[in-house]
């Protein structure tokens, strides 16, 4: 029953996305493959930030430092690529991201300070680290990396950016979810005490989950670099967007429920709303306000749902 309801939510999101695509087509009749392609490209960092946030939320925490970790990874890769070339730089960046995530998770477990406070403090630590690595935007992305996310040549008709998100997230998340670790993550998220008493090493699970969050953040930072071509040390507006997408995607703040597919569809929904507003001729700043209001509204609605389910349980 629960499974059907969960899938129904994802299906509903997909339906909403298709409906919004049709609206876009109505407003701008020549919105086609190119429009879809630029939409997917712009959504790339948001999608990875959301995947990162979703893992932290599923394990019962939250990671406010996602945007800052993305900034660290973006500047790290940008600086390294000038020196040692593309592939080693990407490998090192992914390792750095995972390490940052593991540090976050270990601090949460060891200090016993709530996740939200630890990651708020780490938000500033990573932000400072990014500024230490690169004070002003600089470095460079290798050309093939920039080309990889543009166009739609891997599968005709489907944007490359979309395929990259789908393949990366699936390659990381599906094996983990099928493994013992995945089960432990969901168990820890839904009831940490119960999971601990059933023999789950909850501390280690949490640290590992934050490590995955860090890995996805590194992917986000790399896509940011590929998108702009320079390393940007100041974190972008990814935190609130990620929280809103996670909530809209059916992952309940508090943990244990939801997957990564819903949140990623939610990212595209929020992005296409922005496209629609832009096509409708709104000022970009007004678009930001409307978008912010929608995101706050979504989070409020999610909190309301949590409140209601708690009341029903009580």
């Amino acid at each position: 029953m629960n499974l059907i309801r969960k899938q129904a939510w994802v299906m509903g999101l997909l339906g909403l996305f298709v409906a919004l695509l049709l609206v876009t087509k109505l407003i701008q009749p020549n919105f086609g493959v190119n429009g879809l392609e630029s939409l997917a490209r712009a959504a790339l960092p948001f999608a990875f930030a959301t995947a990162a946030m979703a893992v932290a939320v599923i394990v019962g925490g939250i990671d406010l430092s996602v945007a800052s970790m993305m900034a660290v990874c973006s500047v790290t890769a940008a600086v390294l690529m000038e020196g040692i070339g593309g592939v080693p730089a990407i490998t090192i960046t992914l390792a750095v991201g995972t390490l940052m995530g593991l540090i976050n998770g270990t601090l949460v477990v060891v200090t016993r300070v709530p996740d939200i406070v630890v990651t708020l403090a780490m938000l500033f630590v990573w932000q400072g680290t990014a500024l230490l690595i690169l004070e002003t935007p600089g470095g460079a992305a290798t050309p093939w990396m920039r080309n990889a996310i543009t166009g739609s040549f891997i599968v005709p008709g489907l944007p490359n950016a979309l395929i990259i998100v789908a393949v990366t997230v699936a390659a990381v998340w599906i094996p983990i979810r099928r493994s013992k670790l995945g089960l432990a993550i969901y168990a820890t998220g839904s009831d940490e005490t119960a999971a601990f008493r059933s023999g789950v090493a909850t501390g280690r699970t949490k640290a590992m989950a934050y490590g995955i969050t860090g890995l996805f953040s590194a992917c986000g930072g790399l896509s940011l670099l590929a998108l702009t071509g320079v390393g940007e040390p100041v974190p972008g507006p990814y935190l609130l967007a990620a929280v809103a997408s996670v909530v809209l995607g059916g992952v309940i703040l508090g943990g244990g429920v939801g997957g990564l597919l819903g949140p990623i569809i939610a990212v595209f929904i929020l992005r296409i709303i922005r496209t629609i507003l832009t096509l409708a001729g709104f000022d970009p700043n007004v678009t930001t306000i409307v978008e912010g209001t929608i995101m706050v509204g979504v989070v409020m609605f999610g909190a309301f749902l949590v409140q209601r389910s708690r009341r029903q349980a009580a």
Binding site: V113, I116, L120
Partner: protein, 329 residues
């Protein structure tokens, strides 16, 4: 622990006893720490200490301490207000751009109204929709930034002017002390009265210590939270006005860098981020300590990134120590 008997006072481990002492009197060790830091500063750069330097230290600690008041009050209920930086900036920008149009007093009134409005939205989110205040205030901060950018377009041609009173408060000195204290002393007295003696203060402590118990005793938490966040927004707006007088160039990111240090000042000052415990006197000393540390970092030529990272680590370390010391397990 192996013994299952309830612990009596004699069996309190020494670490815990130190923790309890610090918890009850956070100001005493903090002042000691401040003096120690000033001593290190004097050793780093002999001759830096002077009445003028002290005046400057106080001058720049005042806006920080005022924003920390907003953090202390919201933290008492287990919340936080991350929109203070942008609210202060918005208040300053609105005042500077509206003064040539409608005069200084109405402009300042509009600026305070902006603060109250953002606070109202925060209060609605935290009190009625029950969103975590951290996420809620982050969201309103984002929306307010967008609004400010749109607003800037409409007033770009009008130019800006800073009310004389703010300039006097921000830059003037009386007997070596910055004029800002004429605003700060009544402000601090009000906050201390609010926290220690007023019924509203007791409601804040009650909600933070045990929300369920407070609710069962008849506290309507949503009303308290809305009033609290409106107050927090107005404190931020007032700080923005003072800061405008100090810096004298309105910009769209004027007071944004004050947000993180304001959280750090409150946490250093012994305010628990989990609610139920807090002290504004501690936050004032915390603000002074942060300003001294900032001077040291500037003297040591530390880059901006190191400063941000260090403040983040301070918040984490102090919070972790509080959790460790005050844990009764």
């Amino acid at each position: 622990m192996s013994n299952t008997h309830p612990q009596t006072e004699e069996h309190v481990p020494p670490l815990l006893r130190v923790g309890r002492f610090l918890k009850d009197n956070p100001v005493i060790p903090l002042i000691g720490f401040l003096i120690l830091l000033i001593g290190i500063l004097e050793a780093m750069r002999p001759g830096i200490l002077s009445p003028y330097w002290a005046g400057n230290l106080i001058k720049f600690a005042i806006p920080l301490a005022m924003l920390a008041a907003a953090q202390v009050l919201t933290m008492l209920t287990g919340g936080i207000d991350l929109s203070v930086g942008i609210v202060a900036t918005a208040a300053a920008f609105v005042t500077a751009t509206l003064t040539p149009l409608i005069g200084p007093a109405p402009a300042m009134a509009v600026a305070m109204a902006v603060g109250a409005l953002v606070g109202l939205v925060n209060g609605f989110g935290a009190g009625i929709a029950r969103v975590h205040p951290l996420i809620m205030t982050l969201g309103t901060g984002l929306i307010a930034t967008g609004c400010l950018q749109v607003y800037q377009r409409f007033v770009i041609a009008t130019g800006s002017d800073i009310p004389d009173i703010l300039e006097w408060l921000g830059t003037g000195r009386t007997a070596g002390l910055p004029n800002g204290i004429f605003l700060f002393l009544p402000f601090a007295a009000f906050i201390l009265w609010l926290m220690r003696l007023s019924g509203f203060g007791r409601l804040l402590f009650g909600l933070g210590s045990n929300e369920t118990a407070a609710k069962l005793s008849g506290v309507r938490s949503w009303q308290v939270l809305i009033a609290l966040y409106v107050l927090s927004g107005m404190i931020a707006a007032l700080t923005g006005l003072l800061y405008l007088g100090m810096i004298r160039t309105p910009s769209l990111s004027l007071a944004v860098p004050l947000m993180l240090p304001s959280v750090a000042a409150a946490v250093i000052g012994g305010t628990s981020i989990f609610g139920g415990r807090g002290s504004f006197a501690g936050a004032i000393v915390g603000a002074l300590i942060l300003r001294v540390i900032e001077t040291m970092l500037t003297l040591a030529r530390m880059p901006e990134g190191a400063r941000i990272a260090l403040f983040g680590l301070i918040i984490l370390l102090v919070t972790a120590l509080y959790v460790r010391f005050t844990e009764t397990r």
